[in-house]
């Protein structure tokens, strides 16, 4: 497509509004885990990396770049989710 596809813009705007609303509601108590959670979610770019590495007739260059990308994204998402959970595990109520 040579021009911007309005559908995408539509989705982006909705998601951006939603993001603003959701994050505003996060208690400051959890800002650190929030940061690493969103960091982990950003690793969703792995889907792009997978497409590039695995697709029919990918050039060696594409394969190499893609493979590294998959690796990096995996590191990001695995460590991101795990550390978030590790942090959250520690938040305890009184007497629990």
């Amino acid at each position: 497509m040579t021009a911007l596809n309005p559908d995408y813009l539509f989705v982006f705007i909705l998601a951006a509004f939603l993001g603003l609303q959701l994050i505003k509601k996060v208690s400051p108590l959890l800002h650190s885990p929030l940061m690493s959670l969103t960091n982990a979610i950003a690793a969703v770019v792995i889907v792009g990396a997978i497409a590039i590495t695995g697709e029919e007739g990918a050039t060696p260059l594409a394969k190499t770049l893609g493979t590294i990308a998959v690796f990096c994204a995996t590191v990001n998402l695995v460590s991101g989710f795990m550390i978030t959970d590790r942090m959250l595990k520690m938040f305890k109520r009184k007497g629990s």
Binding site: L20, I23, M35, L37, A62, I68, V78, I83
Partner: protein
Amino acid sequence: MDAFVPFAAIAASSLFILSLMWMSHPTTARRGVMAGQLGMALAIVGALVHHDVVDYDLIIIAMIAGTAVGVPMALLMPMTAIPQRTAISHAFGALAVGLIGAAEYYKHAHAEYAGTFVLWALMFEMILGFLTCTASVVAFGKLQELLPSKAIVFRGQRIVNAAVALGAVVIASMLALDPTQTWLFPLFVILVLLFGVLLVIPIGGADMPTVIALLNSYAGLAASAMGFALGNKLLIVAGALDGASGFILAVIMCKAMNRSFANVMFGGFGAVAAGAVGGKDDRVVRSASAEEAAMQLENAASVVVIPGYGMAVAQAQHKVSELYQALSKKGVDVKFAIHPVAGRMPGHMNVLLAEANVPYEQLVELDDINPEMPQIDVALIIGANDTINPAARDDPSSGIAGMPIIEADRARSVFVIKRSMSAGFAGVDNPIYYNANTQMLFGDAKEMVGAIAKELQGGGGGFH
């Protein structure tokens, strides 16, 4: 099989949304992580089953290797290193974004012209991606103190930065209009990577959290841009959510420091931190011993503990928890006042105290504690400095004037645990140390708090 793909994307997006929604409160937060993981799994499956994907070996290998690196990274990381961890993890994610963009670019370079929009989106994505990558590495270096954590400023810095940025953008546009000029591409990448470095070196260590939040936001936008280029709505949504998150956290931090983005990014703030201890040392400073502190603490009805970066440096959180336990046993009402930018990351103190099993109901925010301060018997400041500096409130000429603070100085009496008279990150002198109701407890936070706790447990010994 392919019919499933779009719905997988929808489900994954919804799960990411729920994930952030549940993140709003500690009781539901872990469910949030669950949702996030599930969403990610769905997204990956959706990508793998897509008919275009034929060769799986490399993908599997890369994912296994990534996991092998990621797991220890998450498990072995001490809680005090959370900010660094986030920074380096960003670097990985951003690098991935950049490389994907590069691969896409080369495809377009050799296919027929795909149209301006896609290429603009790609270039935008790569700029954000590569920039975020090196910037995050520098941020990591500063937080890990591999690099000088104070701002590095040199003459003509802004001109250099501007030039590099301009160069990158110009080449980007050239490539967007004519992707076949592949020889320009490496140059473009190098300039962007360089710009990432230049962007962060003039920023002081303690401002890294703001930077990291911004980079988080960039990473999100990069993902969205990729979504636009590849026509993938899941990427657009996830990216938008992250973009929003990083942006809002950065705004919150700036508000909590009464500083503008511009000041954080270009202010060279904290550059002077070292040289900053005012010579007015004719003023008297009262110092006390752990024993004396313990005595006053146990006779107090209400105590507010105000932790800061120093507690993190000293890894004193467990001792602090012991202190809390000992005082609670003696019927003293102990609260923890958490400044939004205490430490080196938003929510830094909360995580450390949580790690040490301090129940989160005891943690109160700035706005809630300040009105109560005058009724508080003892304010115990542990390695906090800028965040309790009354100059921010009283002295309009101060470097941190207008920054909201925890008004520890309004408590009946104040104890300050730190190693020396040296200033905090902002490098501004702190008058609270010279107040008549302030006593200094010089020493490493961990040892000092430990000693006080011992005293309270009737163990005797300690500093004197």
